[in-house]
Amino acid sequence: MPRIKVARKSTAIDMTAMCDVAFLLLTFFILTATARQPEPLPVDTPASIVKIKLPELDIAMLTIGHGKVFFGVKGQKVRELTLEKMSKIYGISFTPEEKIRFSLIESFGVPIGNLKQVISLDGDARNKPGLQTGIPADSVGTRASELNDWILQARYATKELNNKDMRISIKGDSKEEYPTVKKVIDILQKQNINKFSLITSLRAAEK
């Protein structure tokens, strides 16, 4: 009686197809991923359970940390127009090149008098901790604070360009003392902005 022979098969699997798929997905995710912008003022945001994502457009971000306030608005065109409006108010003129350079800065925190100097620096030097001292948030005499003007002009610029109301988000450091936050909220309320977002990181569900 002849015995049935089981054919001995190789244990190696052909990985080529799997490899192809894996790299295809990898390429996709690398291309869709948005690179994280370097922040001049790193803050540690407090955690919360909310899961609403922040919109990408027409939003200004106020970063509060270590007693300083930084300001940034999304969209290069909006930034450029905001700077133009600010330069008119404060009587400081910027060259077209400076305006373009400014429109690439995600967030900044210097008094407008020092803004030229910051614009001329390159990315690395600009984000050095301690270089940018924060936007003055206190009003001087009858004149509203610089931060107030920045927010107001950015709102005008957003409305003009995109015909949308700008949203405001506050990104505060967990250790920040309340008076600084209150100062910023008061500025917003003076402009009749009563609704804004607080940026938080995700808290793991505690049971």
Binding site: P46, I185, I199
Partner: protein, 185 residues
Amino acid sequence: MAELDTSGGGKKKGGKVRSKKQSTRVDLTAMVDLAFLLITFFMLTTTLAKPQAMDLAMPDKDEKNQQELTIADNRTMNILLGEGNRLEWYMGQASNPLAPPTVDGFGKNGIRKALIEKSKEVLGITGDPKKGLIVLIKPSDKSNYKNLVDILDEMKISNIQTYAIVDIIPGEIDLMTRDGIYKKK
């Protein structure tokens, strides 16, 4: 996984030196491993990088004609945020609290219990689901931003619809100083 050499042993006959026939297959296992690791990484970072936003609506503030809203004492809970991640809460008015001021902490073993309990109690009194507990959050100068976000988060967790951030009044600072969660300079 090592590739098995199934080409059979060499029966070498003859004097000719033949170059060994090598397999053209490359072991892709390590490469696939790496690719999937990177995929996982990019997948997780793209979805988590977008920051979460907590919407906050402040009460209208009109400096010209200040309007004072009167709200029912028995529905009002005041939460005072003090220093050292401590808070103090009471019901009603500071001068005549309906529930005595209690020092508490944040989180599930702290204020949340009181919030849920009081919220039920108020609903029992009013009997109207629209007239729930009103929470007044009063952050003092000694509290930090995290405390504020934490307490707003508690509002979301305990499902309290009506809450507002209001300025603290001197009488309440005295109360917190008495209970040791606020140090005057």
